[in-house]
């Protein structure tokens, strides 16, 4: 995606190996370069990067607000870049909706009218669109505020209206452009929780833009880190944290509260390692059952490691990690726990955290409850940018 004069020339030059700064010197801005991403149905895909990294531009190519200079956007089996304006508008009104950073509510419309806006564009009759807008507002917790005006609401509430407006159209794909960035931290957290809560039932495909890694980690099933218009790394939160692709990503992850992001499943070691050892009371831990009985705590795969510290400190027996069926799948020893937390990105090498290195990114898909299994058929959302 290139802005400025003679964008096609710029693309050619980029292909020839020119970099962003060279182009900028000539007055052209290459906002997004060679970004190929793939978002699966029902997934929250977070694009993270600092401002100017091209993430918002990337997002706007997804619904055709901006047309990529080169490359394609495929959505639901359709190439959006090849659609006429009219077809594109139809896709936008019915299948893709958007939530904006500064809410972008229409000040001359009531809350209800705002929420019903997408439906109005679709041409849904008044009675029905109001009913659906009521439902959407109820869903976002704004019941009773329908007759109010946007300027009478707090920021968080306004964004709920924005969210309701996006949800009301029943679009499959939700584009969220730094949607929570303008909110106070506490409200932001509430909104994130609410989004996750909603996602449990709605199972939308969401592309979420943020510059806040914590938010990315909280929300993202998959995270793409962007820098200078290019995608540096795509992976799950743990991937980014545990195996950052380069120093840039690693420096990014420094301030992240790993104990809340990393899960027991991500740092656990093989249970066999603990079998055969002796409990403090001298009892031999020969079987998985022994271990489960002796362990100070038994946790699930996705328990954040922040919850492991207390059990670890009370016993020398490692904490047991079980799958949903209650079967022992691994253990977390106190020294391992400390090692992971203490490493804090100084030595971002796979060696320090060897265990999960061989995990494939797709495995993370069953990490969150209710997530659909991997779905790579042609019906899946395929998004490619260049």
């Amino acid at each position: 995606m290139v802005f400025g004069r003679r964008p096609k020339d710029a693309v050619r030059r980029l292909e020839d190996g020119a970099d962003r700064d060279e182009l900028r010197a000539e007055g052209t801005t290459a906002a997004v370069i060679d970004a190929s991403i793939e978002v699966d149905e029902g997934q929250i895909f977070v694009v993270m990067g600092l401002s100017g990294s091209g993430k918002s531009t990337l997002l706007r190519t997804l619904n055709g607000l901006l047309e990529p200079t080169a490359g394609t956007v495929r959505f639901d089996g359709q190439d959006l870049t090849s659609l006429s304006d009219k077809e594109l508008r139809k896709v936008r009104s019915e299948k893709i909706s958007m939530v904006f950073q500064h809410f972008a509510l229409f000040p001359h419309r009531s809350v209800l009218e705002n929420a019903a806006y997408g439906l109005e564009v679709q041409g849904v009759p008044r009675a029905e669109r109001e009913k659906r807008a009521y439902e959407a507002l109820e869903l976002t917790g704004l019941k009773g505020w329908e007759k109010s005006w946007p300027d009478e609401l707090s920021g968080g509430m306004q964004q709920r209206v924005g969210l309701a407006r996006a949800l009301a159209t029943d679009a499959d794909l939700l584009l969220m452009d730094e949607s929570f960035s303008a909110l106070d931290p506490l409200i932001r957290r509430d909104m994130q929780d609410q989004l996750l809560e909603l996602q449990k039932t709605l199972k939308k495909t969401i592309v979420f833009i943020t510059h806040d890694l914590n938010e990315a980690m909280r929300l993202g099933d998959k995270i793409a880190v962007m820098r200078d218009g290019r995608i540096v790394q795509i992976g799950s939160a743990e991937d980014i944290l545990v195996t950052p692709a380069n120093d840039y990503v690693a420096s990014f992850t420094q301030d992240v509260d790993r104990t809340r992001v990393l899960t027991a499943g991500a740092i656990m070691t093989d249970a066999a390692e603990a079998l055969g050892s002796t409990a403090p009371d001298g009892k031999k831990l020969a079987t998985a059952a022994d271990l489960l009985a002796a362990a100070p705590a038994t946790v699930g795969l996705d328990t954040p490691i922040v919850d492991l510290f207390t059990p670890c400190s009370t016993s020398t027996v490692p904490v047991a990690v079980t799958d949903k069926a209650g079967k022992l799948v691994g253990v977390v020893r106190a020294d391992r726990l400390l090692a992971v937390v203490g490493e804090s990105g100084d030595q971002p090498t796979a060696a320090a955290v060897p265990a999960p290195a061989d995990r494939k990114p797709s495995d993370t898909q069953d990490k969150k409850p209710g997530n659909a299994p991997a779905d790579h058929d042609p019906e899946g959302k395929v998004i490619t940018g260049a």
Partner: protein, 869 residues
């Protein structure tokens, strides 16, 4: 630095446009005029107070009760100071201009907001429109669109467009881009985005722009007054040019009331039409406590009902009130309109209102327009003004006359006692003549207060007068304007300060102040101008009667000053009352100035009767018969004319088939018939006793005065006398008696008939060839040509006839009134000659027209010929 002739380019461009794109301008003029007329008709229809009520309801709806009351009081005040019509005109003009401006400006602003290129291209154009002084394009506007409201509307549009475009562009650009993006992200069509998101949100800004448009339009309306835009602008302009503080204050106050009303209403309109405005309004009302009824505003529907009810009342009153007729004018005009323009000087106003009254009495619909000389001449050259009544020629208005004279026609001077001069207050005791000014420069601070720099008087003063009197170094002439000069004069006189001003006579200043006209012993100012009536080209053809009246129109000094005084006493807005009271003191003047052809004639006693009138095809017979036909018709008779040969006519008279004929030549020429039928006839009475038979030659044939002379000059005349019909008494007499007596037997007398003789006469007359013709008096040929009747010292032509009216015996009984008129009827040779000539000029088949023209030229003739009680 070479001269870049931008001015001539502009002037050429204007000329070219006037010549080649006239159809477009005409079209625009028609459309705008129609638009204006429509709106004006609606607004001017209702009674002032009802319309004020409607305005008040609108104010209530928009701003609440106090605003409504103030509105009503304001407009009632306008009505009371008699500026209502002007205010409505101005309001209509503003509305038309604003509607068009907004219809153009808003889309333009939207376009500019969406396209940077358009916005960029538009900006310098808007700057030009906004800053170019309006007077600069007002004059070309007159050339393009004519005088009246249209150039005013056009320049108002030009002037008030920029803020509307700019504010629209700004308003739309100001709409949060994220909102536009949001609309787009939900698949909104760009047009819908514009109408549902951008425009509603930009509306407050756009409304501010519209408010600006209205205010600018109103300010422009005043300027448009100088181009004949009328309305309050006209009043203000009038008050300026006549230093009428009273009118100025009233017109100015009306402008203010209208401006404040429009400003507050459009300001508040935003709260009604824009969603954001409605929100703000609702908030404000919710926050309100106490005295709520003051802020209570009727809902839109309620206000609409109120307006409609009042409008219906107005409509009803208009319908029932329109029963009064439209006056008792004559019928010469048949309601044709004639537009009179004048420069708003006293003498101009006086004559123009005088003519307005005269023309109205004659059934015309005159329209008056006071204008500056420039627009006046330009407008008249274009044909918008039919007549201007106070052109100062040859000096003061010389430049205009030179420029436009091809498109104007001079209807003659009606006043010739004007003079240009320098005047000082008479308390400057020792200054009586221009010579006295010398050496007094210090007293006057070396200043002579002048008028408009373009005026002819200023030119003469600077170029000639100062030099001739050696004042050049000592005095400088200050360019100013007539009104400023007068104001300065007034100020100085109050302070008893020395002042010298350029002035001219007649001028009201001489009545108002005690001034000394400085004598001009060297005649440097030249002989004074005459006041001319100027018609547009073709006016005297289109309105021959009026043109004739105006050509004959003349006022003397006493009449003019008397008229001016009456008008001034009647006060502004009542000029015509002043004219009427002046006319009352000068009875019969209207008939003298404008002898009417159709003054409503009283019916005769025997109106409705149909006398059968016979006439021979001789000129005096045709003339008098048609004259009586017209007179009788005016008296309600229905005369029937019968053109007959002499013999059959006498027979008809005797049997009573013909009641009367006017062309009886007795006692000589038609003696035979009279003798034969006289027992059945009656001689009503002779009306012409100077008939004679004669030979005539053109006067340029020198030395031929008598029949004897003719014989001597036989060769010159090639031995020919052009005769008439061979059977007539005159021809017989010529051959039998006259010719032998004077030795003319060897002349060849052609026998071609009267018309051939006249044709031959005309041909010879044009070539100045000698010719001798058989003629008789009365004959129109004597009016048309300069002819010598050859004297007949021997009296061979016999005793003179008189022409008498012969009636059937029963005629006096059957038509007592008519026969009474005929009995007392006389015509002089001049009257008959001019009547015959007018009929001749009108051409065959148009005898009535010729007669009418003659009657017009002889006011009172009908009453004289056919008096009724």
């Amino acid at each position: 630095m070479p001269r870049v002739p931008i001015g001539s380019w502009a002037s050429d461009a204007v000329d070219w446009l006037t010549a080649h794109v006239a159809w477009l301008f005409d079209f625009v003029t028609t459309v705008l005029n129609g638009f204006y007329t429509g709106i004006h008709a609606v607004l001017a229809g209702p009674e002032p107070l009802i319309l004020a009520g409607i305005f008040a309801i609108i104010a209530w709806w928009l701003r609440g009760l106090p605003a409504a009351l103030l509105t009503f009081i304001g407009f009632a005040l306008i009505d009371s100071i008699e500026q209502w019509d002007e205010t409505i005109s101005s309001l209509s003009l503003v509305l038309v201009a604003c509607i068009i401006t907004i219809a153009v400006a808003v889309p333009l602003g939207i376009w500019a907001a969406r396209s940077r290129a358009v916005g960029g291209a538009l900006r310098p154009v808007l700057d030009l429109m906004q800053t170019m002084p309006a007077m600069v394009y007002l004059i070309p506007g007159i050339l393009f669109f004519g005088l009246g409201v249209v150039p005013g509307i056009v320049s108002t549009i030009v002037f008030s467009m920029p803020p509307a475009v700019r504010m629209t562009e700004l308003g739309i650009r100001q709409v949060d881009e994220e909102l536009v993006e949001a609309a787009e992200a939900f698949g909104t069509h760009p047009r819908r985005t514009l109408f549902r998101v951008q425009l509603p949100l930009a509306l407050p800004t756009i409304m501010a722009g519209i408010n600006q448009v209205i205010m600018l339009a109103l300010s422009m309306v005043v300027i448009a007054g100088t181009a004949g835009g009328g309305g309050l602008g006209g009043s203000v302009y009038n008050s300026l040019s006549s230093v009428d503080v009273k009118l100025g204050a009233e017109a100015g106050l009306s402008v203010v009331i209208l401006a404040v009303y429009l400003d507050r209403m459009t300001g508040a309109l935003n709260q009604r039409v824009s969603p954001l405005g409605r929100r703000a309004l609702a908030k404000a009302q919710a926050a309100l406590g106490g005295l709520k009824f003051l802020r209570w505003k009727p809902a839109t529907s309620l206000a609409t009902v109120g307006v409609v009810v009042l409008a219906l009342v107005a409509g009803g009153m208009g319908y029932f009130g329109k029963s009064s007729g439209n006056g008792t004018g004559g019928t010469d005009g048949n309601g044709r309109s004639i537009s009179l323009g004048y420069v708003n000087w006293d003498e101009g106003r006086a004559t123009t209102y005088l003519w307005k009254e005269i023309l109205e009495q004659r059934g015309f619909k005159p329209k008056l327009q006071a204008l500056d000389a420039g627009p006046l001449f330009a407008g008249q050259a274009r044909g918008d003004i039919d007549v201007q009544s106070n052109a100062w020629l040859p000096t003061t208005h010389a430049t205009y006359w030179k420029q436009y004279k091809d498109k104007l026609e001079d209807l003659g001077a009606w006043y010739d006692k004007t003079s240009l001069e320098i005047a000082v207050p008479s308390y400057m005791k020792d200054i009586k003549s221009l010579d006295d000014l010398k050496g007094k420069g210090g007293e006057f601070k070396g200043k002579i207060t002048g008028i408009e720099p373009g005026a002819g008087e200023m030119k003469i003063l600077k170029d000639k007068v100062l030099k001739d009197y050696g004042l050049s170094g000592e005095y400088s002439v200050q360019d100013s304007s007539t009104s400023s000069m007068l104001a300065e004069l007034d100020r100085s006189i109050r302070a008893k300060k020395p002042i010298a001003v350029t002035l001219w006579s007649p001028h009201w200043a001489y009545n108002k102040y005690d001034l000394t006209k400085l004598k001009d012993p060297k005649g440097a100012f030249g002989s004074g101008d005459s006041l001319h009536m100027l018609g547009r080209k073709g006016f005297s053809k289109d309105e021959p009667q009026v043109a004739r009246w105006m050509k004959n129109f003349h006022l003397d000094e006493g009449q003019l000053t008397g008229l001016e005084n009456e008008i001034r006493e009647a006060g502004n807005g009542h000029e015509q009352d002043g004219v009427r009271s002046w006319l009352k003191k000068n009875p019969g003047l209207v008939d003298k100035i404008a002898p009417s052809s159709h003054v409503s004639y009283a019916k005769g006693k025997d109106a409705g009767k149909s006398p059968n009138i016979g006439y021979p095809a001789w000129d005096e017979g045709i003339a008098t018969t048609y004259l009586w036909k017209n007179v009788l018709e005016k008296r309600g008779y229905r005369p029937k004319l019968h053109n007959l040969d002499v013999g059959p006519m006498w027979t008809g008279l005797s049997t009573g088939q013909i009641d009367v004929e006017t062309d009886g030549w007795l006692p000589v020429a038609q003696k035979q018939y009279w003798d034969k039928y006289k027992k059945d006839l009656v001689d009503v009475g002779p009306w012409y006793d100077k008939t004679s038979l004669e030979l005539a030659v053109p006067s340029y044939v020198k030395g031929v005065k008598t029949l004897d002379d003719l014989a001597k000059h036989k060769d010159e005349f090639k031995g020919k006398i052009i005769g008439i019909e061979p059977g007539t008494g005159e021809m017989k007499r010529l051959k039998s008696t006259v010719a032998p007596a004077y030795g003319l037997e060897d002349f060849q007398v052609t026998e071609a008939g009267t018309s051939a003789m006249l044709a031959e006469l005309q041909r010879a007359y044009q070539k100045k060839e000698p010719i001798a013709v058989v003629l008789w008096s009365p004959h129109w040929a004597y009016s048309k040509y300069d002819l010598t009747k050859l004297k007949d010292p021997k009296g061979t032509w016999g005793a003179n006839n008189h022409i008498t009216t012969i009636g059937n015996k029963s005629f006096p009984e059957k038509f007592p009134e008519f026969s009474g008129w005929l009995k007392n009827w006389k015509m002089t040779p001049d009257e008959l000659g001019s009547l015959e000539k007018d009929i001749q000029d009108a051409g065959k088949g148009n005898e009535d027209k010729g007669v009418q023209k003659w009657i017009d030229a002889h006011p009172g003739i009908v009453d004289k010929m056919a008096p009724v009680k």
